[in-house]
């Protein structure tokens, strides 16, 4: 916590790589998240919807980014977290989540930092772009 109060614009705070996404992960996440959309677990449904295979829930990818974020920032300091789902995350993707300090500012009587966040797969394709606001 002492180091987070000393951060500067441009510092890389978040950096975590996750194991490849498997069909098993998608099945577990379906139950764990309450998102039972068959497009993520049923290949027949996914093909009928025009996709070559099942693909990861956007919120599973955002959950990975959230995990990388609160590895670096204590959850009690998190004020906001937002992402745009840029591209579909395929099976087997090895996600890397990164975050750098974009801005330091004051809001609601506390010092805060805005972090610019990305999640990419092993080929460097951007899956999520987002931001978080944290209290320092």
């Amino acid at each position: 916590m002492t180091e987070i109060s000393a951060i500067k614009v441009g510092d890389r705070l978040v950096d975590k790589t996750f194991p490849p996404i498997t069909r098993h992960t998608l099945a577990l996440y379906c139950g764990a998240s309450g998102d039972h959309n068959p497009i993520h677990v049923d290949i027949d449904f996914a093909r009928n919807a025009g996709f070559p295979d099942v693909f990861a829930h956007g919120m599973l990818v955002m959950a990975c980014l959230g995990q990388a974020l609160t590895d670096a920032v204590p959850p009690a300091r998190l004020r906001a977290f937002a992402t745009r789902f840029v591209a579909i995350t395929q099976l087997g993707a090895r996600l890397t989540c990164e975050g750098t300090v974009a801005e330091l500012f004051e809001e609601n009587g506390e010092r805060r930092a805005k972090l610019a966040l990305t999640t990419k797969d092993e080929r460097g394709e951007v899956k999520l772009e987002g931001s978080a606001v944290v209290a320092l």
Binding site: T25, L28, G50, A76, F81
Partner: protein, 151 residues
């Protein structure tokens, strides 16, 4: 097809309890090992009354305890197979921890057409309050409806 007339539509409020077993299943699925989410003493040391929920878990609680998890689609005649998640945001106003009982009040905030009508983009905003009436969070999700099947 969903249009401007949906703006302001309110869906059935959802009440969800933050249950430790379900939360543990979520943590295990994500390989989350941060002790703050698993160990009550670590959570207290981090300033929480009980183990807090991870940053995206509010989205899950709302779906898990909704009587109709896809009401926001079915009520508006949207086919689940044609939906993608465009954006998601959370604003955290107060802690949420195991044992809390939350109420979600989702409503349609905006509907816009993109790419000459090939896509419809719907924004659903949701206020979240806890068992003490404390406004704990605001969430916003953007749902993208593919009006033509992807080729």
């Amino acid at each position: 097809m969903v249009d401007q007339s949906a703006v302001g539509h309110r869906f059935t409020p959802v009440t969800a309890r933050v249950e430790p077993g379900r939360l543990r299943y979520f943590l295990n699925t994500l390989g989350e090992t941060n002790p703050v989410y698993r160990d009550e003493a670590a959570a207290r040391a981090a300033g929480f009354a009980a183990t807090p929920v991870p940053p995206t878990y509010l989205f899950c609680l709302e779906m898990m305890d909704a009587e109709e998890p896809f009401e926001m689609l079915t009520a508006l005649g949207i086919d689940l197979a044609r939906v993608l998640h465009g954006e998601q945001s959370f604003v955290y106003r107060a802690p949420v921890a195991v044992g809390d009982v939350l109420t979600f009040r989702p409503r349609v905030a905006a509907v816009t057409e993109k790419k000459g009508g090939a896509l419809t983009v719907m924004v659903i905003e949701c206020e979240v309050t806890n068992q003490n009436g404390v406004h704990v969070a605001d969430t916003s999700r953007t749902v993208v409806v593919r009006n033509q099947v992807a080729s």
